[in-house]
């Protein structure tokens, strides 16, 4: 309908240029109308289970009710990669969205593509500037460069450990005690496997979709960070990283507690729900979907540790795109502020399992009583204290893909962890060199 309206407007504009006074009058009325309402387009992804598009549509409708002068066209565009593609192709087609929710780690690439602007350019009042600092600092790590804020946290997560209490009990383990360390996790997983007579796996860590993300958690637990803050260097073949991958591989090979080969990101939740595994590592964004569908008692814990606890943050941020008018930018800011306000962040967290993105969200009545009634809802937030920025570099796609391949090559026994990570390091270095040249 919008498209048709603008077509009519265009043809009216042409005719009025030809001198038809009456039509020019009509045009004026038309453009008045257009000014009365600022139209925004945004793309957003869904990477976890549940009917999240309905939730977003509901939020947008509510926002439009409260702000009749702004209309938001929220377009679901698939997973994070698909959404970035949709947004970037829209830009190339000259139909740039004013804002979008994209992968928090797309920041470097979006800058490289000259696609986004900093929120600092749009905020005006002191209140708005304070809003920029109202989020958990851990979540801002992937959104800030050189003191400029480019990404506002929205659907943010950490990796958490889901465990099946019934399965623990059946294996003679304490159902209320999740594994604290790497060794404990391997032992408990093997115990479940044995007690079930091979019917049930001990633990599953997904290795498709976002293998680098899971690997980053292992590496960080071993005290190792995979990249520098500037996004120009990676350290994949460090001994700690190799040890981390060796541990991951050992879960299947040595402890026989995890299936061989890669484990699919998209079907893992279903595996857990059908009790074919006693533990899974997954985004906290799945929490509400698991809660709604689980027919057994389950718990959620922080990931186990080696040298330290740790999980990378993950998920999507709001970005502002280049090329929109000042009016549109402010409308977009209004919308983003509304969407990330404590009450909404709380509601969103309850609906999905994603984190409330600001401390204030956890102070709301709604989230406080939810956490009281359902303590797993606070695990992701508590884990923030031990979180690290998600792997983000220039040439991010290629660098992540190199690491993904290494993880998969090791898990499927094609290469040793050391070989695989050395190769990934070489590939990432080559990609970053190419970037350094084009810069």
């Amino acid at each position: 309908m919008n498209a048709r309206f603008s077509l009519v407007k265009d043809s009216l504009a042409k005719r009025s240029r030809m001198g038809a006074a009456a039509l020019a009058g009509l045009l004026a009325a038309g453009s008045l109308n257009a000014q009365a309402q600022t139209e925004l387009t945004m793309y957003y992804p869904v990477a976890v289970g549940g009917a999240l598009t309905d939730v977003i549509d509901g939020l947008v409708a509510e926002f439009e009710n409260e702000h009749p002068d702004i209309s938001v066209d929220a377009i679901y565009a698939g997973n994070y990669d698909d959404t970035r593609v949709r947004a970037m192709s829209a830009i190339e087609a000259g139909e740039a969205p004013q804002l979008s929710v994209l992968f928090s780690i797309d920041l470097f690439d979006l800058l490289e593509q000259d696609a986004i602007i900093a929120f600092d350019e749009v905020v005006e009042s002191e209140e708005e500037r304070e809003w920029l600092d109202s989020f958990y600092p851990g979540l801002m790590e992937n959104g800030r460069i050189d003191g400029q804020t480019y990404g506002i946290p929205f659907q943010r997560s950490t990796i958490v450990l889901y465990w099946n209490k019934d399965a623990f009990e059946a294996a003679g383990l304490d159902p209320e005690t999740p594994p604290e360390t790497w060794e404990e996790m391997a032992e408990m997983a093997a115990a479940v496997r044995e007690a079930s007579g091979g019917e049930q796996w001990g633990v599953m860590v997904p290795s498709t979709g976002y293998p680098y993300w899971m690997f980053q958690a292992f590496a960080f637990q071993d005290g190792h960070r995979l990249m520098n803050e500037e996004g120009t260097e990676v350290y994949f073949d460090d001994p700690a990283a190799i040890e981390a991958l060796e541990y991951w591989v050992s879960l299947a090979e040595e402890h026989e507690a995890m299936p061989d080969g890669t484990i699919e990101w998209g079907t893992l939740r279903q595996n857990f729900l059908e009790e074919s595994t006693a533990m899974m590592w997954h985004s906290t964004g799945n929490l509400t979907a698991v809660r709604n569908d689980a027919s057994f008692d389950f718990g959620v814990a922080m990931l186990p540790m080696k040298e330290q606890r740790g999980s990378p943050t993950g998920g999507g941020n709001f970005y502002l795109f280049k090329g929109s008018s000042e009016e549109e930018q402010h409308a977009a800011l209004t919308f983003i502020r509304w969407m990330t306000a404590p009450e909404r962040a709380a509601a969103w967290s309850i609906e999905t399992g994603y984190m409330g993105v600001s401390p204030a969200a956890y102070e709301t009545q709604a989230l406080q009583s939810y956490v009281e009634e359902f303590p797993p809802a606070a695990v992701a937030r508590d884990q923030l204290e031990h979180a690290t920025a998600e792997l983000a570099t220039y040439q991010g796609g290629r660098v992540r893909r190199a690491l993904d391949n290494a993880v998969q090559a090791a898990l499927t026994g094609q290469m040793s962890p050391e070989e695989a990570l050395k190769q990934a390091q070489a590939e990432a270095d080559a990609a970053l060199r190419r970037y350094a040249r084009s810069r």
Partner: protein
Amino acid sequence: MVIQNADRRMQIYGALLLLPAAVLLGTFAYLPTVATLINSFFLPGFRGAPPEFVGLENYAMLVEDVTFWKVARNNLIYALGTIPTSIALALGMALFVNARLPGRGFVRMAYFTPTILPMIAAANIWMFFYAPQIGLFNKLLGALGLSGVNWLGDPGMALTSVIVMTVWKEAGFFMIFYLAALQSIPPELKEASDLEGTSRWSFFWRVTFPLLMPTTLFVLINALINAVRVVDHLFILTKGGPNNATNLLLYYVYENAFSFFDRTYAATITVVILLVLAVVATLKFTVLDRRTHYQ
């Protein structure tokens, strides 16, 4: 003089008739091809800076790119795995449902159903068929007392699994063409050969199959195009993994262009694909066409 004028008028008339097709082809085929070729000589610009001319550097990178060669090899295996199988299966199914059997309409529909499913939907269904613990195939194997296979997660199995799904999807589509061709074969031929006492086997190889040759050629070209064009079900099933075991050419182009933001390298791969396809097209026009008898 008069004749010359008429000639010129005919020429203009002819050119005008060609114009719409020429404009469409130019805009959507030749222009992008030329643009792709030009792009392949550049490095992408940083932060809106103009791209830098680097000559053949992208091609040099391609030659050394291990992943590209793996992907090309995968695609060859994929083509060899899907094309003959789906054509043979399509022909077999067409012969079967062309015969007078009870419930013929139902069987035809059943064979054709996979074709009308959107690829993404089909792939989503198959992802759950293939899922190692909860999937249909492993449950069936388990019922037979066999241990399951990690269909999409084992690099030795993954490409085969993708091929199997493609064959399932394509065979029904090609069957329709064969069925139409079979029904256009005059029944007199069958009657005549029955009088001669020809066996069904030699009737098929001496009469039916040669008459189906134009259809086979058409189906072959389509299957070939599909083998290069495939990209959608990889998004759902494997994303090219594990470790590039199922990565195919077009998916690799997509990855470079949109996941890696490296449009110029994507253009380079595209140029190479175009060259290979041009060779195949030449073979088709020079060799295959001459061996095909049109009715």
